[in-house]
Structure formats: structure tokens, C-alpha cells
């Protein structure tokens, strides 16, 4: 199912029908990021497969914007050098966070001329998209998707993941967080885990429950939160267990709920941390959570603060899209950088060339706080790292490991 | 004992307070056609439902073919050979007539899949036998009410039951088809099938039944052959209502009716063709006449100039029904000064006519005027603004609302709060019994009180015309009088009343004008005085032609 440039783009075809027909009213409104889907330019096309609507639509849209921004900046810098300044096009598809659409959108993007894919946030969707990419022989670099199994239980040759998966994130947290606390001269012996009761929360929880005892930390309470729940009860439960540290594994809303409930009960654990918690490096979320999160520690993929470019990108993003730049956005941006580096390396828009390049690549110039990115035979990033950062003055500051630390830990 | 194919012993069924079947012991002999008659609410259908397993009895036993079937499910009883039909024909509407027949349960290997040839052949036979083969491929929803009754009979015949219980098999069926149904039943009975029939149409019962049981108030009051049953006063009481007021000349009435019974029996035997509308007959029962006169004493005066004084409801050539089932055929009625009664056997279309008048059932053709207003296309709540209100059968009160709320809702279309309050006082003055119950839930009232509430609620509307649908139905005899008193109260307050009643004797006492309806058509119209010959009334009413 390769590309066929004679074939009219599926999306455009329908769009014309739609514009002419009764359902066309919306076809005229709104922007189309992937307007020029045809593969007749000399450029390279990145297909961005994210949830732009549905429950995950907010985050998905920001991730999609990160892909756009990475391409935009590269184009402003003169395009792909090895291809005589060829421009990068980004075409976007909305997978709605639905498993059924993951593969479909990937196929559509490939049909519309994508030479390389990225996506998809929700793990089942990523999984379906990865398979579609594999069968189309188009490389895919996962933007964000934590499920270990996507790569590790599939035999995929075209799929790569720069980001640390759930297991890695938990391991990093269990490694870095207690060490940092103890180095600062504090005791930490017990922990309570607060997790969102979906796959991501459960898998990080499971790994933490394995890893924390290795660090002599006993998990004394585990409480879950569902979407749309208030968590006063959970906070009382945690408070009764009186742990040294409360580890929150949750999305933004649930983290805010946790903090709100803690405030309401005047409860402040010795340490509040987050593992793979997007809220703790979302500055607007930090602002609304206020003092309670000041000093909170978190492990997540994050911007490399030692890299000036990272700060620029963050600023540019906030200015361009008027949206907050959280960890998911950062990781997506970094993944797109990996893609761009691979295109540069391949010097070609041919998916197979790009794939070959990805196989051997080592990307050191990226904005994520992790060592140079390179992939093992399953496609996982060998050097994936979730650094430890701390909320200082309501901004996320990386404090460990040392090579990425921008600031001293302050407890 | 063993000659009884179906036998119940002390069968009881209660619904909350209501005792529907009060210890019924009945034996149906093999091969007979056993009629069950009785007024509405006497417990006939409940008896059927309890016998055939649709209701769980509260006591007593049912034996069929010598086996105790008391606690079997309805399908098991049906398969055991005791078939039944329903009062409202219930064909499987989305299936064709033939499929309806084929849907009858047959056991056997692979009872899931193939329809055996014998079954198809059997269905074919029944279709031919009942002469409905020409509509075999029509969907059951598309055939007429009478055809549906035949279909229902055919469907139950597919089960090859030894005994069939028929619940009003000719209700709403036109006379031609009715005759055919009777013929078929006769033929089937000759083949040896036992029938138990609930029927209001005495012409059906008379020709068909070997024995008749009369139910009243959940008990069998009488059993015997048709002639002896219909000539029994208890049966007349059951049907026409008890005459409870001795002062109004009960003795005379009884006297008259006894002699009349004989006459009725004779009439039946002779098949006398005397029909309705034959004009006035001079009163034979002075008592009834007196009662009537006294009841309408205050009101009978202005009869002459009714039209100028009061608005009148005039319905011309009404045709209506449900679905494709015509219930009322070309009937014209008017409201008269005082009380206008509409009598007629069950299924004659009385209630439907009333609902058509008030606008709850749309009319298919014809016109209705109230005063100068054409209300043919109007509906119930608009008609209230014109000043007419209807009391539905069983009162239609709001069981979960208190008495006071019920009454206040009667004044729903009265915007002026003080008017509402005044009327409430009036109603409470008229029905002091309600005053004590103001805060009780409507549903907690007794039947009589509920009816009183319904009257009171209707009075709250301030209407000038009241349409009453069998207000005395299901009430204890002692309360029936109260209901008629209440009805007279309405008239005394200057309103007109159209009263649908089955309690004919009582109603006649207060009636000023009478219509008699049968089979959806008008059989008689005239002043009440013309109907005082009870024999004629019985003939008209029971449809003994």
C-alpha cells in the first residue's frame, strides 16, 4: 500500500464533495493544517496523528501544534540541508482518541503523502497506528504513549519511541526522587500512591510498587481516582496513612483536584511528588494550584533547561498558539526533532531511507532533558530518561540528574 | 366429578383491597358451551386470567382434565389443552394471518427450526374452516376487528385445545361476521370441544350456551340454562342494577320485572322481532316513574325552552374508532336539559362515544357543536374552556396526589384564585365527606370516595355540561345511590349531564332523555318516560332481538 501520486488525496476528495454538499458548511470554515497534502512538492511530509477532538482533544491539539512548530522552525532555519533546503510539511489527522481510527488515520496520512508519522498519545490508538505504519512501511516516531507493550510485545521495524515508557518513568522516579530527598538530609520511608485508574496510572503504579521497596520505601496507601471525580475521600485516606511522600500519577485535572482537596483539609505531606504527571510541568496549572505544589518533585519527560533552544521553543510555542507548554508538548516536540534529524540524515523523503536513518541515528541536539536519543532493536530509546524536577517559584526546574540540572534542589 | 373438564374450587383473587374473585367454584362439563355473564367489574376477566395462569390466585384450586393446574404458567396450561382468547383481540400484528397461526407452540424434536408440514396443513385447514384464507398473507394489523377475532379463535384452535375460554369473542364485530363466529363456535362444539364464553351480547349467549353462570361482585350468583338465568331477578339486578330504594316503589318494580322476565323469556323463545325506537310505551311501573318524576321534579319544568336557555351539545353523524376498527358508526346525540343517559351493553361503544364528544378520541367524520362553537376538531382541555368536562371511567383521579390537590387541579383552567377557592368551598359543602380527607392521597380513598372526588374535581371546573362515564361501575350497591345523588347535584346546580351507565334501573330513575347504543349504532332515542316498560328495555339492552 505505497503512495500513489496519481491518486487524489482521500481527504481532499471528500472535502470537495463536502464543500459542495449539505455538510459542507464547516468545510469552508476553519483552518486546515494539512491543506497541501499532495506529494508533488520536493518537500518532506510528516503525518501527525493525534486526538484533536474527544476527551483527549485538548492535549492532542497541543501536541499536534508542537509538531507544526518543530517543522516551522526547521523551515525558517532553511529547511532540510541535505535536501537543498527542502521544506517540511506537516499534515494532521484527528484520531479522536479512538482505537478504530488510529490505523485509519495513519493510512490516510500515508495516502495523503506522509513520509514519516508521529503520534498518538493514547496507547491503544498508538498501537493501531503503529501497525498501520508497519504495514505501509512508513516509519513512525511515537510522540507520547506510555504503554510498554506497544514496542516490546510487537515485532515492529518501523516504529520508534524516544520517550521513556511507563516502566522507565517509574524506575527513574524511584531512583532519582528518594536519592534527591535523602541527599538533602531528609528521611523518606513511606509513600502513598495516588493514581488515575486507567492503563497509564495502573502501569506506573505497578512499577512503582515494585521499585519503591528497593529504595527502602514502603507503600502505605494506594488510592485511585476516576475521571471527573472529586478526591476529598482519597486525601483523607492518604492523611490517615501519614506517608512521607505522596506520589501523584495523574493528568492535569486530577492533580488539581488532589491539590484542592489537600488544601481543603489543610493537609500537606512532607513531600509531594508526581510521576509522569503532566500538571507539574504545566505552568498555568502550577499557577492555579499555587503554594501547595511549591517544592513538589516530579519525574517526567521534560525540557532540557541547560539547552537555550528549549526555552526559546517554549516561549515561541506559548506565543504562537497561546497554549501551555507541558511535558507532553515538550516530548512531542523532541520526537519531531528526532524525525527531522532522521530526514536530514537520510537526505531523502523516501520512507525506507528515513527508517534506515532512524535505525542508526543518534540525536544529541534535542530539547528534551535526556542523553542523546538512539534506538535499540525494539525501537525503544536506549537512553530514555525522565529527569527529576522541582517546582520552584511555580516553575518547573530540573534538579537531577546533574548533567541536566538547572537549579539546586530546595527542600 | 370426572364429567367436569374444568373445575375450580373456591378460587379467590384479590387486588389490594379489591376482591375480584370471591371464592368461585365452577364446574364446566365436557362438551358443553358454558356462558359466563355478569356486569362490568363482576370479575369475569379476572376469573379467566386466574384460571389460565395469567394471575396467581390467592386461594383455591383449578383442575383441568383432572389435573391440578393451579400454579402452572399460562403457557403450560395452554399446552395442556386449555386455550383462551383475550377481551381485546391480540393478534401478533406484525405477522401475517398465516404466520399468526403458525406461531402457536408445537413441541417436538427441533422445535426450533422447521415448521412441520402437518402444522402448515393444519393452519391451512383452519384458515379455510374460518373462511379467512383470502387474508392469509395480510398482516394482522391490516385486518378488521372481526377478522382479528376470527384469527384469534383460529390461532387458539391451532393448539387443538379440548377446552377454549373465549373472552367476548364478538365484541365489536359486525352482525354478519358475528353470525359467522357463532356458527363456527357451534360447529366446533359439535366436534366435541368445550367452550367457556364471556359475552355481553345475550343473543350470542342465548343461541350458543348450554349453561350459564352469572357473576356479580366476584361471586357466582346463579347458574342454569339461559332461559332460567335471564328470567332470574338476580340476573336483572346484576345487569340493570339493584333497586335499592324501597320507598320509590321497589315492590312494584320487582313485581313488574318478574312478570317482565317471563315475557323476556318468551320473547327469546319466540325470537320476537320487536326492535328499538318503537316509540313510547306507557308506564307499567308506577314506582319507577314516580322516582323518575321526583328526581327530575325541579328540572323538568323548563324542558320546553332548553335551547334558548342553555348551551347544548349537538353531535351529528359521528364515526370514530381505534386504528382500523370502527367503534361508533354514524351516531347523532344531543345533550338535553337535565340528565341524558346513554345505555348499551358492553362493547357497544358508549365510552368511545363519550370520549369522542369530549375530544379525547378524534372523530373520523361528522360534526360536534357545543352551543355556537364547532368543537369537532377541539380537544379535551380546550373543551373545558367552553364549559364541558368529562369524568372518565373509574373516576380517573390522581392517586398520588392528595384530595385537595385533586380538587385544585380540577380548577386548573381557572385563573382566578378566589374563584377557585370559592368553588372549593362549594364542592366541600356539597361533599362534606371529602373535607375530612383533604390531605389523604387520592389513591387511599375507597371506591365511592374516589368517585365523589372525581365529581368534586369536575365541579371545580365550573362546567355547564358534564359527561359521566359509568360513575357507578364497581361500586357497592349502597354507594350507587350516592353516585346518582351526586349526579343530581350537578343538575340541581344548573348543569346538563350526559351519563353513560350500565346501572340502568337506577339511572332511569333520574334520566330525562335516553339513548340506547348497541354495536356502535343508535337503537333508541327518546324521553326517559318512553322507556319505562322494562321488558322493552331489557330487550333493547340485552340485545334480544
Amino acid at each position: 500500500m505505497g503512495k500513489n501520486s496519481n491518486r487524489p488525496s482521500r481527504r481532499n476528495f471528500i472535502k470537495y464533495i463536502g464543500a459542495a454538499g449539505a455538510v459542507g458548511l464547516a468545510g469552508c470554515v476553519g483552518e486546515d493544517p494539512g491543506d497541501d497534502g499532495d506529494d508533488d512538492s520536493d518537500g518532506v511530509v510528516i503525518g501527525s496523528n493525534h486526538p484533536l477532538s474527544g476527551d483527549l482533544g485538548g492535549t492532542g491539539t497541543r501536541m499536534d501544534n508542537a509538531v507544526q512548530l518543530a517543522a516551522m522552525i526547521k523551515n525558517e532555519d532553511g529547511g532540510i540541508e541535505s535536501m537543498d533546503g527542502a521544506e517540511i510539511d506537516v499534515i494532521s489527522g484527528d484520531n479522536q482518541g479512538a482505537q478504530e481510527l488510529g490505523g485509519e488515520i495513519a493510512d490516510e496520512l500515508v495516502d495523503d503523502g506522509a513520509d514519516v508519522l508521529t503520534g498518538c498519545f493514547s496507547s491503544p490508538v498508538t498501537n493501531a497506528a503503529a501497525r498501520a505504519a508497519e504495514s505501509s512501511s512508513v516509519p513512525m516516531v511515537i510522540s507520547v504513549s506510555v504503554d510498554d507493550a506497544i514496542l516490546q510485545e510487537n515485532d515492529l521495524n518501523y516504529v520508534y519511541r524516544p520517550q521513556p515508557p511507563a516502566a522507565q518513568m517509574a524506575i527513574d522516579h524511584a531512583d532519582l526522587m528518594p536519592a534527591a530527598v535523602r541527599d538533602a538530609g531528609h528521611d523518606i520511608e513511606t509513600a502513598a500512591i495516588y493514581y488515575i485508574d486507567i492503563d497509564f496510572g495502573q502501569s506506573v503504579r505497578d512499577r512503582l510498587q515494585e521499585e519503591l521497596p528497593e529504595q527502602d520505601i514502603e507503600v502505605v496507601e494506594t488510592v485511585s481516582v476516576d475521571f471527573g471525580e472529586t478526591v476529598d475521600t482519597q486525601v483523607t485516606q492518604i492523611q490517615s496513612a501519614d506517608p512521607d511522600v505522596v506520589i501523584a500519577i495523574s493528568y492535569e485535572a486530577e492533580t488539581v483536584e488532589l491539590v484542592r482537596a489537600m488544601d481543603n483539609q489543610d493537609y500537606a505531606p512532607p513531600f509531594l511528588t508526581g510521576c509522569s504527571n503532566e500538571a507539574l510541568n504545566d505552568r498555568s496549572a502550577l499557577e492555579s494550584m499555587g503554594d501547595t505544589v511549591e517544592g513538589a518533585l516530579a519525574t517526567n519527560f521534560a525540557l532540557d533547561p541547560t539547552n537555550d533552544r528549549a526555552a526559546e521553543v517554549r516561549e515561541r510555542f506559548e506565543e504562537e498558539f497561546d497554549q501551555s507548554f507541558d511535558a507532553n508538548v515538550a516530548m512531542t516536540y523532541a520526537s519531531t526533532e528526532v524525525i527531522i534529524a532522521a530526514i536530514e540524515e537520510a537526505g531523502s523523503a523516501d520512507p525506507d531511507d528515513i527508517n534506515d536513518a532512524l535505525n542508526d541515528i543518534e540525536v544529541s541536539d534535542h530539547i528534551a532533558a535526556m542523553p542523546p536519543i538512539s534506538f535499540d532493536e525494539t525501537g525503544e530509546n536506549e537512553n530514555a530518561l525522565a529527569p527529576l524536577f522541582q517546582v520552584q517559584d511555580l516553575e518547573d526546574r530540573v534538579v537531577a540528574p546533574e548533567e541536566f540540572a538547572e537549579s539546586e534542589i530546595d527542600l | 366429578m370426572s364429567d367436569y373438564i374444568l373445575e375450580t374450587a373456591d378460587l379467590r383473587k384479590t387486588f389490594g383491597e379489591l376482591v375480584a374473585n370471591d371464592g368461585i367454584s365452577l364446574g364446566v362439563e365436557r362438551g358443553e358451551v358454558h356462558g359466563i355473564i355478569g356486569p362490568n367489574g363482576s370479575g369475569k376477566s379476572t376469573f379467566f386470567n386466574t384460571v389460565t395462569g395469567f394471575l396467581e390466585p390467592n386461594g383455591g384450586t383449578v383442575r383441568f382434565e383432572g389435573e391440578d393446574v393451579t400454579n402452572l404458567g399460562p403457557d403450560e396450561i395452554a399446552r395442556a389443552g386449555l386455550g383462551r382468547t383475550f377481551q381485546i383481540a391480540s393478534p401478533f400484528t406484525d405477522l401475517t394471518v398465516r404466520e399468526n397461526l403458525l406461531s402457536v407452540y408445537t413441541a417436538g424434536l427441533g422445535s426450533g427450526l422447521r415448521i412441520p408440514d402437518e402444522k402448515r396443513a393444519r393452519a391451512q385447514n383452519i384458515l379455510e374452516q374460518l373462511e379467512i384464507e383470502h387474508i392469509a398473507e395480510h398482516e394482522a394489523s391490516d385486518i378488521s376487528g372481526g377478522q382479528q377475532q376470527l384469527l384469534e379463535l383460529g390461532r387458539i384452535l391451532m393448539l387443538d385445545p379440548s377446552c377454549i375460554m373465549l373472552d367476548e369473542p364478538t365484541a365489536g364485530v359486525n352482525p354478519a361476521l358475528q353470525a359467522r363466529i357463532i356458527d363456527h363456535l357451534q360447529g366446533l362444539n359439535d366436534e366435541g370441544r368445550t367452550f367457556v364464553i364471556i359475552e355481553h351480547d345475550m343473543s350470542v349467549i342465548s343461541g350458543l350456551t348450554d349453561r350459564v353462570s352469572v357473576l356479580n361482585q366476584g361471586q357466582i350468583v346463579m347458574q342454569g340454562d339461559f332461559d332460567s338465568v335471564t328470567s332470574d331477578e338476580r340476573v336483572r339486578e346484576a345487569y340493570l342494577g339493584e333497586t335499592t330504594d324501597p320507598d320509590a316503589g321497589l315492590d312494584d318494580t320487582l313485581e313488574g320485572s318478574r312478570s317482565a322476565s317471563d315475557a323476556t323469556a318468551d320473547t327469546v323463545a319466540d325470537g320476537s322481532p320487536e326492535t328499538a325506537g318503537s316509540g313510547g310505551t306507557s308506564a307499567t311501573s308506577g314506582g319507577t316513574s314516580a322516582a323518575n318524576a321526583s328526581a327530575s321534579a325541579q328540572l323538568s319544568v323548563p324542558t320546553g325552552d332548553t335551547d334558548s336557555r342553555q348551551k347544548q351539545l349537538v353531535a351529528d353523524n359521528i364515526v370514530t374508532g381505534y386504528g382500523n376498527h370502527t367503534v361508533i358508526e354514524d351516531v347523532s346525540v344531543e345533550s338535553h336539559e337535565g340528565i341524558t343517559c346513554i345505555f348499551g351493553p358492553n362493547g357497544s361503544g358508549k365510552s368511545t362515544l363519550l370520549k369522542a364528544l369530549i375530544g379525547a378520541v378524534p372523530v373520523w367524520s361528522g360534526s360536534i357543536r357545543y352551543g355556537d362553537t364547532d368543537i369537532t376538531q377541539s380537544n379535551t382541555y380546550k373543551n373545558l374552556d367552553y364549559g364541558m368536562v368529562m369524568l372518565p371511567q373509574d373516576g380517573g383521579i390522581f392517586g398520588n396526589l392528595t384530595v385537595k390537590e385533586n380538587l385544585l387541579l380540577g380548577g386548573y383552567r381557572v385563573n382566578d384564585r378566589s374563584v377557585r377557592r370559592d368553588r372549593l368551598d362549594d364542592v366541600l359543602a356539597a361533599f362534606p365527606a371529602l373535607e375530612e380527607k383533604l390531605d389523604a392521597d387520592g389513591g387511599s380513598l375507597s371506591g365511592g370516595q374516589q368517585m365523589m372526588l372525581s365529581f368534586g374535581r369536575a365541579m371545580m371546573t365550573g362546567s355547564e355540561l358534564f359527561l359521566l362515564d359509568e360513575p357507578s361501575a364497581g361500586l357497592a350497591p349502597s354507594l350507587v345511590d350516592d353516585v346518582f345523588e351526586m349526579t343530581e347535584t350537578l343538575v340541581n346546580q344548573g348543569a346538563q349531564v350526559i351519563l353513560v351507565e350500565q346501572n340502568v334501573r337506577e339511572a332511569l330513575r333520574i334520566a330525562d332523555h335516553v339513548y340506547i347504543l348497541a354495536q356502535g349504532q343508535l337503537q333508541f332515542e327518546g324521553p326517559a318516560q318512553e322507556l319505562l316498560n322494562e321488558d322493552e328495555l331489557v330487550e333493547l339492552y340485552l340485545g334480544l332481538e
Partner: protein, 289 residues
């Protein structure tokens, strides 16, 4: 569990139960009067949430203004939805009604998502909490509970003491009889749907006081609201509040004693049990067929 903690849980259960009851109010009204399962109820709540959030945060209006606006707006929206989609099929099969209200849900939620994005939103100010007898009472929830109780009282009084309210109850009780006392039943239907929607709007309107909102938040409440409606008895307002309290307690104590979403399993088991043993609900009368 020490007594003060237990007391704290009880407090949370009551607070949560109040919200649940409020959410179920509008649903039980529509269910009781019209016998329609309104799947769009959660979506209507979401509209209420966004009106309050948007009016308060973006337009800077007072909560005292935005909450009533939400209620009124939802009433109008409810009447519109009823007249355009429910009324034509009020006598149709329930599966058709279900699909139609589901369609309304899709439209509303998607529209909100398009306008406001799927990102969670919250009011800029937190309301904090008060401590009473060693028990923390988050003010957001407390206000919501007070509003819920007030709403129940007002709605109950409205139904109890006004002619229109009686007409609505009368229609729920006996649709047939209602027309005979002159009640315009179709009008009562759309008013009921409007009131039901307004109550959904009110439930939605108080939620931003204590919780982040997003376009899909209605779903989280809706399923349990169904449970409450059946639990309390169709159309019963006190039943909705009591059912809400029961579910509040099961939720909170299930959360404490059961792992993961075990509390939700408990809620469904109770639901199934009640359905089987007393389908008319704890406070319901007989089930009308």
C-alpha cells in the same frame, strides 16, 4: 479507622450525595412524567458548567448572576430540545427516544468541545473549606449541597403548591386523567423537559464551585444518576435526594474499603439488586406498565 476520620468520610459522603441527588433531580422529573430516559442529561449539565465558568471567569460576572443565567438558559434549551426532537416521538418506541437523546448528547458535547476545547477548565478562585467539629467541609461542595437542598425544597414546593406543579405531578400520575381536568399534556411535557433541563443546568452550574470541568464531565455523573433515579423511585424528588445520599455513601466508603473502582462495582450491584427486588425504587409506588 478512628472516629474523627470516620466522621470525615460521613461528611464527604453527605456532600457527595447532595451533588448526586441534585444531578438526579432533573432526570427523575423527565423520567417520571414522560417516561423518557434522557441520555442528554449529562450534556445539559455540561452546558450549565460552561455557562458558569465562562460567565464568571471570562466575563467577570458574579456567581449570583451566572448560576441563575445557566438555569434559565438551560430551561430554554430544554424546551427547544423537547419541541424539536422529543415531542415528535413521545409515543414512539423507547429505543428511538434513546437514540435521539444520544444524538443530542453528541451534538452538545462536541459543540462545547469545539468552542471551549477539551482541556479542563476551572474557576480562578478556590473557595477553601471550613472546619467544624474536627471535620473539614470544603465550601464549594457545601454551597453545592445547600443549593441542592434549596433546589429540592423549591422544586418540591413548586410541584406541591402551584397549580402548574400539581399539573405536572398529575400528568406524571395519570396522563389520561390529566387531559380530563383540562391539562394540556403536550405543554406539560415541554415544560417538564424544560424544568428537567434547568435542574440539570443547576447541577452543572454548581459543579465548577468545587471541581475542574471538561466537556465530558457529564458522563461521569450520568450513569450514577440513572442508578439514583431508579433507586429513589421514578419521579420522586425526595427519592432522588435519598438515592443520591445512598450512592454518596457507597461511593465514599467503597473508595475507602475497596480497591480501584471497586466502589463503582458496588454501586452497580446495589442497582441490579434494587431493580430485581423493587424495580419501583425505594420510595416508588407500583411500577406502571
Amino acid at each position: 479507622m478512628d472516629p474523627s476520620t470516620a466522621l470525615q468520610y460521613v461528611a464527604f459522603a453527605i456532600l457527595l450525595g447532595g451533588i448526586y441527588g441534585l444531578v438526579a433531580l432533573g432526570l427523575t422529573m423527565i423520567f417520571g412524567v414522560m417516561d423518557v430516559i434522557n441520555f442528554a442529561h449529562g450534556a445539559l449539565m455540561v452546558v450549565g458548567m460552561y455557562i458558569v465558568w465562562w460567565g464568571t471567569n471570562e466575563l467577570g460576572l458574579s456567581l449570583f448572576l451566572t448560576i441563575p443565567i445557566a438555569v434559565i438558559a438551560l430551561f430554554v434549551l430544554g424546551v427547544g430540545i423537547h419541541l424539536s426532537t422529543i415531542a415528535p416521538i413521545i409515543d414512539s418506541s423507547q429505543e428511538n427516544q434513546l437514540i435521539v437523546t444520544f444524538g443530542v448528547l453528541l451534538i452538545i458535547v462536541s459543540a462545547i468541545e469545539i468552542v471551549f476545547s477539551a482541556d479542563p477548565q476551572r474557576l480562578e478562585f478556590g473557595l477553601g473549606s471550613v472546619q467544624f467539629a474536627g471535620v473539614y467541609l470544603p465550601l464549594g461542595q457545601l454551597y453545592a449541597l445547600i443549593i441542592a437542598v434549596l433546589a429540592v425544597i423549591i422544586a418540591w414546593a413548586f410541584l406541591q403548591y402551584t397549580q402548574l406543579g400539581r399539573a405536572i405531578r398529575g400528568t406524571a400520575d395519570n396522563r389520561d386523567a390529566a387531559q380530563y381536568v383540562g391539562i394540556n399534556v403536550p405543554r406539560i411535557d415541554y415544560l417538564t423537559f424544560g424544568f428537567g433541563a434547568a435542574l440539570a443546568g443547576l447541577a452543572g452550574a454548581v459543579i465548577p464551585l468545587f471541581q475542574s470541568i471538561d466537556p465530558h464531565l457529564g458522563d461521569a455523573y450520568l450513569i450514577n444518576a440513572f442508578v439514583i433515579v431508579v433507586l429513589g423511585g421514578l419521579g420522586s424528588f425526595p427519592g432522588a435526594l435519598i438515592g443520591g445520599m445512598i450512592i454518596g455513601f457507597v461511593h465514599v466508603f467503597g473508595q475507602v474499603f475497596l480497591p480501584g473502582s471497586g466502589y463503582q462495582i458496588a454501586i452497580f450491584l446495589i442497582f441490579i439488586l434494587v431493580l430485581l427486588l423493587k424495580p419501583s425504587g425505594l420510595l416508588g409506588g407500583d411500577v406502571h406498565e
